[in-house]
């Protein structure tokens, strides 16, 4: 089996597996964050549960970090191998005649998402790790804030229009990445379901709803803080 993951197909299967996990993560992330718009109290409750539950913190979170790092590292490894396989470039190459722009440029949408994740970690994840694991404060409370601190912190981050703009741009690239990645992952796993019209429509809907949802949250809090 180790030989399988060293093969070109095995590496693509590994990419697809990490992609499935990340796509599921995005869905639950959006489902929780959208609560911040409709019910701040519920958002705080769910955030506190996710932020303090040992299964989430000590089992799912490390898997998520591994999946994110693996997806990027393997993406770069595959890109390097592909560049090496290409040889001399064409003087004229009409890629638009046979494929979509976003399917040919997954590496660029991926790099944009990577840059966003760095910003997102600085904004939310590092402060969260600092509060809980370095300062040892698992209470979810903040001085001067009634109830849990999570909704207040989220809204505060979206005051700055430059940050909101960066988030919106990143989410557009996330949508482009998902527009190809959703069905591509099925194909890499050996499934032909990704070629069916229904699956392609679900992929299109997913790649629009997920980024549009996150953009809506960012803009809502920016204009309603």
């Amino acid at each position: 089996m180790s030989g399988f993951f060293k093969s070109s197909i095995g590496r693509k299967v590994a990419m697809a597996l990490s992609a499935f996990f990340l796509m599921f993560f995005l869905l639950q992330h959006l489902a929780i964050n959208i609560l911040s718009v409709f019910s701040p109290e519920t958002f705080n409750e769910v955030s506190h549960f996710m932020g303090t539950n040992p299964v989430v913190q000590f089992a799912l979170q490390p898997v998520l970090i591994f999946a994110v790092v693996f997806h990027f590292v393997m993406g770069f490894i595959l890109e390097l191998k592909n560049s090496k396989a290409n040889g001399v470039s064409y003087a004229k190459n009409n890629g638009a005649a046979n494929s979509t722009w976003f399917s040919r440029n997954m590496i660029y949408s991926g790099i944009t998402i990577l840059a966003f994740i760095v910003l997102h970690f600085i904004d939310f994840w590092f402060p969260e790790i600092n509060t809980k694991f370095i300062q040892g404060d698992w209470s979810g409370m903040l001085e001067g804030v009634d109830g849990y601190r999570y909704h207040e912190e989220l809204v505060h981050k979206f005051v700055n229009p430059i940050r909101v703009g960066a988030y919106v741009v990143a989410f557009v690239f996330l949508g482009l990445h998902l527009a190809h990645g959703f069905t591509s992952a099925f194909q890499s796993m050996g499934g032909t379901v990704g070629r069916k019209k229904a699956a392609q429509n679900i992929g299109k809907a997913y790649s629009i709803i997920i980024p549009a949802g996150f953009i809506f949250i960012a803009l809502y809090h920016h204009f309603n803080h």
Binding site: F4, S8, K12, S89, A91, K92, S103, S188, G190, G194
Partner: protein
């Protein structure tokens, strides 16, 4: 038709190569693309210049020899045809046509538009066959029941002529459509089952050894394939490899 041709000229594998402009006149729209190239070469020979080297053989779209990347597409702008089946009616008078060899590190240029596609032969040798006793005791293939859809899909996969358009088109120079077709044509039939696991493992290993890239599922290969080989064959190869590896 009067045309300007921008053609890749490279004297041998070690030459750096460059694009050179040529003019051809009075080209009939009924000519095939290769006949137009023949006109150019006659012109060059008459002028005492080196003719453009290009691959061709059957000139009826079944041998897989002709190649050429024409105006940014393998086998040119038409669909479901090889370069020998491409007609000049696809172009307009006074067009400029860019003609390049198939590009991939695993398809090194031998001369001008001729590339070495023997990597495909080595992949075939590594498992693209079934071992049959041909001493005279061979069972009649028609005595083995095969479902119609399996026979059809195997036949579709077997129509791959190994021209390399998939590799030339792929942004990663991946050979997975070719290997997927060769794996599929046997994987779908009972005769191919006995050696199925070794076949897919060996062919994929040889494909990787030859230095072809990975499949990103853009689908460009399927669009440009002169035989319309489906991406489903790549998915089937992936399944076959998973099954063989577990």
């Amino acid at each position: 038709m009067n045309l300007t041709l921008k053609i890749w000229r490279q004297s041998d594998a070690n030459d750096k190569g460059k694009m050179v402009d040529y003019k051809v006149t009075e080209i009939s729209e009924h000519m095939s693309f290769l006949e137009m190239m023949d006109v150019l070469n006659e012109q060059l020979v008459n002028a005492g210049e080196e003719p453009v080297a290009f691959d061709h053989d059957c000139r009826e779209g079944i041998c897989g020899m002709c190649s050429m990347f024409i105006n940014g597409e393998a086998h040119g702008p038409d669909r479901g045809v090889t370069t020998c089946q491409l007609h000049m009616r696809m172009f307009k008078d006074r067009d400029t046509i860019t003609i390049e060899p198939f590009r991939a590190a695993s398809f090194p240029v031998i001369k001008d538009l001729v590339v070495d596609r023997s990597a495909f032969d080595r992949i075939q040798h590594s498992g693209g066959y079934i071992s049959v006793n041909t001493s005279g005791n061979t069972q009649d293939a028609n005595s083995i029941p095969i479902a119609k859809h399996a026979a059809d899909e195997a036949m579709d996969a077997a129509t791959c002529i190994g021209c390399g358009a998939c590799v030339a088109t792929c942004k990663n120079s991946s050979a997975m459509l070719f290997v997927g077709a060769k794996v599929s044509q046997y994987a779908l039939l009972p005769q191919g089952q006995v050696e199925a696991a070794d076949r897919v493992k060996n062919m994929v290993a040889q494909m990787d050894l030859e230095g072809f890239g990975n499949c990103t599922n853009t689908g460009a290969c399927e669009v440009e394939c002169p035989k319309g080989i489906s991406l489903d064959n790549i998915a089937r190869m992936n399944r076959e490899l998973m099954k063989a590896s577990i």
